[in-house]
Symmetry: C2
Subunit: 439 residues, 2 copies
């Protein structure tokens, strides 16, 4: 009898976790991703704020799977999946499968707000974070030369939309970059005029955290120079301004700015719907508690794309990793003729870094930490979870360096060529300085 063939689409946390769980089995596994590297997404904001090199939060997928001869990898873009005939169509071939794990992740959600797609910088992948880094430095380079007052003010105003973990972490890091490092680079700029604004539609930051942690996060950000506006809903974004209204008083306001960063919403990768799966309002695929698609019991959905019935999991790396393991174990059970088992999620908690010596952590839903201890824990956990030892050494070196020197050294304008087409088109800059939309 031939070995069963499992195909995994997507090499994020869930896909890699699923592939690794097949180690030592007699199943033939093929992992597909459009990139040849795995990205450690929780550190994207540190790439965007000149703290880390993009190469330090990614790892070649072939390296991650070196010890597993039964797992093959191919850099390939999946065009279509035929769930009935169990065949995947890529750029250059057709791949049949016995079992399929879909781990295509999520993408930014813009809620149809005018101008968001066209003018905002998302922060969902490596290209996004490098684009954002280039944009931030570029704004300062232009502002330094700009004679017109209001145009200079636009260049020096950075608005972050979304007060969840990504928005809070980015706001803190950005404030540190600007008021800690860039202030020494641009003597001609009056840094009292540089604004970092954080707009949150809900009534508090970090809605999933206990109230006193949200309050702590807001106070810390304000101390660092961030203008935090809660209950502030964005209504429109234009090339040089963001419009928002106060949720209580409904009065409309404007912030003139060149850089609007969108961290306010996330939805499942639209390919799932395109390929014919049933998705919820959020673009996620509704699956059984075993992570199987109801119509196709040999197809599993894991990670941000999965919406298990009657359950709501946070979009966190540990969830994706546990789902990857569950899917693999269930496939192995199916191959042996046993019934797949529902996933049992163990919530380990969540943490958000705000700045130097400042973070919040909620462990196992019970223990709450703030300040120095939470900050140390955040650093330790993220270092430990990085995909390779080599990544750990370089990231640690960067952190130690910037801690003692108060300097962020990756403040380079080094545009990446975008390769990510199914996610929202990021904005970039051309070499002659014009901002362009890349389609």
């Amino acid at each position: 009898m031939n070995n069963q063939r499992v195909v995994i689409i997507g090499a994020g946390f869930a896909g890699i976790s699923a592939a690794r769980t097949f180690a030592g089995t007699s199943v033939d596994v093929l992992l597909l991703d459009r990139h040849n590297y795995h990205t450690f997404l929780p550190l994207l904001h540190q790439v965007a704020t000149c703290e880390l090199e993009p190469e330090h939060i990614v790892c070649p997928i072939r390296k991650l799977l070196k010890a597993q001869p039964n797992v093959q990898f191919a850099t390939n873009e999946v065009k279509r999946v035929d769930f009935v005939s169990q065949v995947i169509e890529t750029n250059n071939c057709l791949i049949p499968y016995d079992y399929l794990i879909l781990a295509c992740g999520s993408t930014s959600q813009f809620f149809g707000i005018p101008g968001v797609y066209e003018h905002c910088f998302p922060l969902k992948n490596l290209e996004n974070s490098v684009n954002l880094r280039n944009q931030i430095i570029y704004c300062f380079e232009l502002a330094q030369e700009e004679a017109d007052f209001s145009r200079r003010q636009e260049l020096l105003t950075f608005t972050i939309v979304g007060g969840g973990a990504t928005g809070v972490e980015l706001a803190g890091e950005l404030a540190e970059l600007i008021y800690g490092t860039l202030v020494n680079d641009y003597p001609a700029i009056d840094f009292r005029r540089v604004r970092v604004v954080l707009l949150q539609a809900g009534d508090k930051l970090l809605p999933e955290m206990p109230l006193h942690l949200s309050v702590y996060a807001k106070r810390q950000l304000q101390k660092m120079g961030v203008e935090v506006k809660v209950a502030s809903r964005v209504t429109k974004v234009m090339e040089n301004a963001v419009y928002w209204e106060d949720s209580h008083f409904k009065n409309s306001q404007t912030i003139p700015c060149q850089t609007v960063i969108w961290t306010a919403g996330v939805c499942g990768n639209p390919v799932a719907k395109k390929w014919g799966l049933v998705t919820d309002n959020n673009g996620k695929v509704t699956v059984l508690p075993t992570l199987q698609v109801p119509e196709y019991p040999q197809v599993y959905i894991v990670g941000d794309l999965a919406a298990p019935q009657h359950e709501q999991f946070p979009m966190l790396a540990p969830v994706a990793i546990q789902q990857g393991t569950t899917a693999t174990n269930n496939i192995l059970r199916q191959i042996k003729g046993k019934n797949p088992q529902p996933m049992r999620y163990q919530h380990q908690g969540s943490m958000v870094i705000i700045g130097r010596h400042a973070a919040v952590a909620n462990l196992f839903g019970k223990v709450n930490l703030t300040g120095f201890v939470a900050w140390l824990l955040w650093l330790f956990v993220h270092l430990a979870c990085l995909p390779s030892t080599r990544n750990r050494f370089h990231v640690l070196l960067n952190w130690v360096w910037s801690y003692f020197s108060c300097d962020r050294s990756v403040r380079l304008i080094l545009p990446l060529h975008p390769t990510n087409q199914s996610k929202p088109a990021p904005q970039g800059t051309t070499e002659d300085g014009k901002r362009v939309e890349i389609n």
Copy 2:
């Protein structure tokens, strides 16, 4: 009396050296470069061969000049220089100068050989090296999936044209990458079929070195698996083949390959001629021994762009650095009413790394070293010359890591968006895998 204003165009070795020599003087200096970073060019080949991250061989220019309040920097593209009215025209403004230092460097020279510009990968700047890295890894990704034998062979053949320092270093590093690291990544590829070919038009490699060092370099490369062909002149390059003839027997031969790397020639940046300066056959500006342009005594040419009368300097970093210092000192003398002095070049030697424990070094034109000692010296000197301590730590970490693990971890396909327009257009890849010419 107002301070004299000096403008320096180009922040390579010569430009940075000139700017730094103005430290502590009362001259107002403006340094212009199209990038906001300085590139340590001698390590480009290690970026191209997955050994170093691109960010580790560059340094923000503002950081390099932090301690010098009299030196301003602007990221700007110079469009034109009017040497008569002493005005520089950039993208967005006119900049008058009292003294000008032109340090615009060099670019690849293609000698009008058909197809070289269109199909070869140059290795003259950071974008080039990242493009080349992506291309090398991409060829292996495609070859792994390619069923057609001859097409697979084309993908797995890498031809380097030019047996000077760049060509030899790249050939050695590429052989180490392929036969040391990639061999573990691609189990489906027969690595006995992978070819690295080095074509040198002259009769020996490293023509500027003593004969026995050239012989050593050739023997080492051959041991590492590189096919070295001397007296082999390229006559044409096509998309999937390079044509060359033996200089002695004049018989024409072909190597089918997808990747041809051009390191065979260098000429002065063409902007000098475009702006009306008198250049020699090699595009370099003929200058007085004081580095002044004969027609415009307040204009200095330094680095690869300068061709001092009656003298021939190698295109090396130490030459550029000494020329930058000379130009600055001569300007300071002119301001004080003294005569500029001719440059006195002190040759410190040159070194070429070939591979692990293998290098050649010629010190002060007298002492010749090969093997382990030369290799250690090469590493030490290049580490010491890196622009910042932080660069040194990261590069050292990478070197130590890859020495002990025999692994090159930056084997990523992470396309850079090219920003360098006045240098030859590099080739890149699009996200759907087609090679494209970027104009």
